[in-house]
Symmetry: none
Subunit: 130 residues, 4 copies
DNA sequence: GTGGTCTAGACCACG
DNA sequence: GTGGTCTAGACCACC
């Protein structure tokens, strides 16, 4: 499981972590009933403060995708995989929708926007395969 | 000239205003050497605090796209139109790139991402024409 | 509006604050559309750290009983009074139910429990009027 | 002897176990000079960690209601039955007092509180007999 | 070892 | 002034 957080994003770090865990569960990297990385462990990997991770985990618990197991850690719930697939779609769709809305209201033409999109999609697929 | 700010976005309001003005200049809605709306006027239209607008204007001044004319207001500079066309592309591209990067790292397949994109593009074009 | 928190309770302080605000809204002490005390102000009154109050306020926001007004404070929502009357009942009922469940499983007889209850009710009503 | 622990209560599990043993001794289910269940046995029944049970037993030993008998286990002391009857009353009374204090400070009327109490008492008696 | 709570104090965005 | 986020590090309950 690989975590990607960007400390300089306008999106709070804890929210990025929430998203990453949701993605991990949706993709199957984090299986139902398994334990997610401990607060301290993930904090060390991401170079953020444990409190920041803890806050993300509380949010995830609130969403019902993980449950705290006293003294053991945070466990992925049985319903999480289905739930996270929905949440993942919502997150990605929302982000894309906002980007496109901004593109439209920037008065760029539809062709220009499509060109930009195609270009960025190819760019990322290059990265993905590379 | 139409301004769109979304108070619940993670993007700060003043930054949204900066973007809107840049878009307005790039599209020609705000012509070179013309005056942009006064701080108070725009604050009233957008239902935000005048300080927030003032801060956005400072940022625009820093970018060199507007210049304050004592006693008259803020004027679009001569170089602004070209500059803003570049800035506009950068802004839109950056936002799209980030949205797609997130889509990719969510482990959605390329196909699913393309489907989402197409769906959202149509949705916005519907709105644009409607 | 009077706040009662007990630092040595097993119930976390932030949760006690959540309850107190809900009670205040349910009773009408905190009216819809009004601002609740600021984080710093309440922290000073309760002699707790501002972060603790902030956490309580986030929880309340999540419940939909207050909403953050950027730069102004936290506002009681329009739906809050009705919502809080329900929440209040749930909180009080839950606490009473747990106390009684414990009383029953302590193997005290029904009479003894009733006697204890009556005694404590009178005691509190004495306090309330005194 | 039946043990009831609620893992999601704000009351620590070890403290719940302490209470349950005190109740058992007060009611006569656990007789003076008899052995209480072993740490491992009780841990298995309650599905909690043996350390948690061990901690509860330490607490009970500190209260003087059980004493460890090398090689045999933990024995209910001779003074325990009387002591536990007092402790039981204190525990139940404290819990009820706190629940009622909260009810009062929630600004529910005396009438409403009495109604809630009556309703919950009947509910539990239904369970007790059922 | 685990997560949960709390204090402390920094910086930021916004009004 | 407001709330929001983050770092830092303490102590606790539990496994």
């Amino acid at each position: 499981m690989l975590f990607n957080v960007h400390p300089d994003s306008t999106v709070p770090i804890y929210e990025q972590i929430v998203g990453q865990v949701i993605f991990g569960i949706a993709s199957g990297d984090l299986a139902a009933e398994s334990l997610i990385p401990s607060v301290r462990e993930l904090a060390q990997v991401l170079l953020v403060h444990p409190n920041t991770v803890a806050r993300a985990y509380q949010e995830l618990e609130r969403h019902g995708v993980v449950a705290s197991r006293r003294g053991r850690g945070m466990e992925v719930t049985a319903e999480a995989p289905d739930l996270c697939k929905e949440l993942r779609r919502d997150i990605v769709q929302k982000r894309i929708r906002e980007a496109l809305r901004e593109a439209v209201c920037s008065a760029l033409s539809e062709e220009e926007i499509r060109k930009l999109l195609e270009q960025e999609v190819s760019r990322l697929n290059g990265k993905r395969r590379g």
